[in-house]
């Protein structure tokens, strides 16, 4: 119960701070913060696969891009479509895509899973590039944000501040739900998948079902991020569904760290800032990206959150040290 009220306080404080941002930040930075929130959800959903289930996917952009493209396609082709319906249509499409892809990939894991997801990502990218009539091909699709209809009143989404609040509420809720998910039965089943799938089978778990549920859930969350990405930029290009978009999320998660829940959120923050400033300075952004990957893998496998956690623990070293001692003493006596 104590834990519960603590988390509620943290959520409340974060909510208040975020709600004050439009007053504090300039427009440029508010736009960046919106982008960070969207990518944070994308990264969090990816880490449920990589960090929690131990599945390395190179195809997460399929779902992100699917959400983004369906939103744009629906808005372009259905005049007068409401915001909620655009979200609904895109989410349902993403869910179907995840179920179909998930069922095809169920039986594979490890390197093979990575290879297959990459191949499928390329397939979707190829379709998006070639199917110009629908996706706009290389030109992409430009859209307008429909206004938000709340039943009793409508709120225009043309102003960044209004859209920021919508993002904060919807994406924020999704990120909190993902966090809650890690504490539910299914969330704990995901950990079992990472630790020992073989043993799970002998405890009554259906591995295929477990994977399909996880794959669909993370795909849906990535799709939701994609939908808001489309709304935010009012434009969707084939980049949204490219392997580069998968690389981007991989980098965010890896830089942020996979071991703690907030790692990928931190990663998204760092990534967006780096990308905004570094790509101004240098045209060789991919080179830096490659170097960051290699250096992180070799020297900082825990990511930035890993560094922060260990510094934090050093502060409380006395407390933890004693706790560790007590438990080892117990083992010896038992």
């Amino acid at each position: 119960m104590k834990q519960k009220s603590k988390s509620l306080i943290i959520i409340g404080v974060l909510f208040l701070v975020s709600a004050l941002m439009p007053i504090i930040l300039k427009k440029y930075h508010l736009s960046m913060l919106t982008e960070i929130m969207i990518f944070a959800l994308y990264a969090v959903s990816y880490n449920l696969l990589l960090g929690y289930a131990g599945l390395l996917s190179f195809g997460h952009a399929v779902f992100f891009g699917m959400g983004a493209f369906m939103t744009a396609i629906a808005l372009v082709n259905i005049p007068g479509l409401s915001l909620w319906n655009a979200i609904l249509i895109s989410l349902v499409t993403t869910i179907f895509t995840s179920i179909i892809l998930g069922s095809l990939l169920l039986r594979h894991k490890g390197s093979y899973f990575a290879l297959l997801t990459l191949a499928f990502n390329s397939l979707f990218y190829a379709v998006a590039t070639k199917w110009r009539e629908v996706t706009g091909g290389d030109d992409g699709l430009a859209i307008m944000r429909p206004e938000l209809n709340l039943g009793f009143t409508s709120i225009s989404m043309t102003s960044l501040t209004n859209f920021y609040y919508l993002t904060m509420i919807v994406i924020g809720a999704a990120i909190i739900f993902c966090w809650y998910f890690t504490h539910t039965a299914m969330g704990k089943t995901v950990l079992l998948m990472r630790e020992n799938e073989e043993r799970m089978k002998f405890l009554g778990y259906n591995i295929n079902i477990s994977r399909l549920i996880l794959f669909t859930f993370t795909g849906t969350m990535a799709g939701l991020a994609g939908i808001f990405y489309a709304f935010h930029f009012k434009f969707v290009s084939i980049w949204a569904i490219s392997v580069d978009m998968t690389t981007a999320v991989l980098l965010m998660v890896f830089v942020g760290g996979t071991k703690v829940y907030w790692g990928p959120i931190l990663g998204a923050f760092v990534y967006i800032i780096l990308q905004n400033y570094l790509s101004d300075i240098t045209a060789r952004w991919p080179l830096f990206m490659g170097l960051i990957f290699v250096i992180m893998v070799l020297y900082v496998p825990g990511g930035l959150s890993g560094i922060i956690t260990s510094i934090w623990q050093r502060f409380f070293v006395k407390k933890n040290h004693n706790a560790g001692k007590a438990s080892t003493a117990e083992v010896v006596t038992s």
Binding site: M186, N196, R199, F202, Y205, I207, I209, V331
Partner: protein, 247 residues
């Protein structure tokens, strides 16, 4: 129909290599049955077939009157069959509580639930605690499995096997690699936790076998040499020649 589990004429080939060549035996309800035999006799293969890990080349396993051969492990587990592994097979980075919890909540149908936190379910937590107590890991409850001593890991292995509250328990060499003292402790624990349940156990240690088992089958080169009570096995000339004589 009085047979609780009936193993009928099980054959198993691994790409031409015959491992099991017609295994037959029956176990009655609430009986403790030991399968003994030299290394390479096919004991673990037999367990893998009964528990659904492998499919037999031919033959059938009948459990409570139903043919269960070829059913996947998770279905067999839901029908009340649970097994342990010879090589410790636990969730290494999870703590003891979460290890046991995994099976308990599966039994309570909390496998894929999206909204409920299993820690908040009193029945599940109490059941988990009681299994931890039964296998003697209470003091190590919050430790990750990887930090446990070998003996504790083996106890955890049995605890996980018990966590789905099975009617039929298959234990694959539960005391393998233990010291004399640990073995004795383990026997007492196994005896205690399997009371009122049906047990099939693979064991090398004759002391364990004779102190735990009501009936024994001797597996020799892929077939059952003889089945009977410990007394009958001890006095059987065939067994003496083939197996016990080597000790």
């Amino acid at each position: 129909m009085s047979d609780y589990i009936n193993i009928q004429n099980i054959h198993k080939d691994f790409s031409g290599l015959k491992v099991l060549a017609g295994v037959d035996f029956k176990v009655r309800e609430k009986e403790s049955h030991a399968v003994i035999g030299p290394n390479g006799a096919g004991k673990t293969t037999l367990f893998n077939i009964i528990s659904g890990k492998l499919k037999s080349s031919s033959g059938s396993v009948v459990f409570k009157g139903q043919d269960i051969s070829g059913k996947p492990p998770h279905i067999l587990n839901r029908r009340g069959l649970s097994r342990s592994f010879q090589i410790t097979n636990v969730f290494q980075e999870l703590n003891v509580f979460d290890n046991i919890l995994s099976g308990v909540r599966s039994r309570y149908g909390r496998r894929y639930h999206f909204f409920k936190n299993p820690y908040h379910d009193r029945n599940i937590c109490e059941k988990t605690e009681s299994i931890i107590d039964e296998v003697g890991l209470t003091s190590a409850k919050d430790q990750p499995a990887s930090s446990l001593s070998y003996g504790q890991q083996r106890a955890l292995e049995i605890g996980i096997t018990l966590s789905t509250e099975p009617e039929l328990i298959l234990l694959d060499e539960p005391t393998a690699g233990m010291t004399r003292e640990e073995t004795e402790q383990a026997i007492r624990m196994i005896d205690r936790v399997t009371t009122g349940r049906t047990l099939i156990i693979i064991e090398h240690d004759m002391e364990v076998v004779f102190s735990l088992a009501d009936t024994i089958s001797v597996l020799h080169y892929g077939t059952i040499l003889v089945s009977g009570t410990p007394e009958e096995i001890r006095n059987n000339q065939l067994v003496k020649d083939a197996y016990l004589g080597e000790e």
